[in-house]
Symmetry: C3
Subunit: 139 residues, 3 copies
Amino acid sequence: MKSYRKELWFDVPRRRELINITEDVAKCLGESGVREGLCLVNAMHITASVFINDDESGLHADYERWLEQLAPEKPHQQYRHNNTGEDNADAHLKRTIMGREVIVAITNGMLDFGPWEQIFYGEFDGKRPKRVLVKIIGE
Amino acid sequence: MKSYRKELWFDVPRRRELINITEDVAKCLGESGVREGLCLVNAMHITASVFINDDESGLHADYERWLEQLAPEKPHQQYRHNNTGEDNADAHLKRTIMGREVIVAITNGMLDFGPWEQIFYGEFDGKRPKRVLVKIIGE
Amino acid sequence: MKSYRKELWFDVPRRRELINITEDVAKCLGESGVREGLCLVNAMHITASVFINDDESGLHADYERWLEQLAPEKPHQQYRHNNTGEDNADAHLKRTIMGREVIVAITNGMLDFGPWEQIFYGEFDGKRPKRVLVKIIGE
């Protein structure tokens, strides 16, 4: 069994942003040499997500509006977590909706995707360096 | 390490439906010959889900009503994604709530489930052929 | 390839509670002897979750309030599932938001975590014995 590990680093200048990382993950897979296996991609921070969906700017705007409805950032004092001096409780909740991780099948050395699947890093509390873990196991 | 791959195809006549696919996945596991490992089951389309919950029709009606509250289908023009000519932005959001994938442990050649766990395909934008990927690795 | 399996049992005296199980999972990893691989941790019951987030009591209070907004427990009769004699439809929905499972990378014999990642068991229908499955594969 082969295993491979890499961290992808992000320093997003805005509080929230969705970044397509499919090519970064595909490059990791190439480096790993794995032909059959599983690829885990997870946010290493608890106010960010990794998820699979469509690379369409209208949909991304819909996500922004929808997540703000389900878990609004402001007023910050509506959340007890923010009594700790943080202002990012909403980011913990938004990440919960969007998910921490994806697992992608590896077949014939490729990410085994349907026609529109793309991997995104979802930043919900940016303006600082944060990481995504890519872990691949297989043969 | 063994690996196994199969696509399950669905062509749901309605826009939304929840379909129990546990037996299909168990059949894949039998074909794989894997006794110890992991089984990934994921929607290959970004307006559909794979999730684990209860096979109880009342709960499925509750899911339908609840998802329509959290991410209503209509009016279609409330979503910017639908400006592209699509009408399925809500399906992208519903799938986000329900999840893209599940990973099931394989133990002694069986899906290692609790008493009520069943795997479902959640279709949120049907009336066309769509796929689920089953990928199994182990020994 | 090595594989390891263990059940963690919980009998939570309240209906809802979030329990940090990171040390339990780390202990399983030690017992497994796996140095490189993947660790699946999943609720075996469909009214409970396993998720990764922050061990901060304010945030946990925010989760309680937020989940009650998104999927309120009462009135019980608002849910068709509860016509079966159950009163736990809300717990099925809350678990859907929080997720069934996490996959953690194993690197150098350790859970490969970012700085604040902790694994939680989320009980949403307690007062009875329930289980979490830990399945580890790797080398």
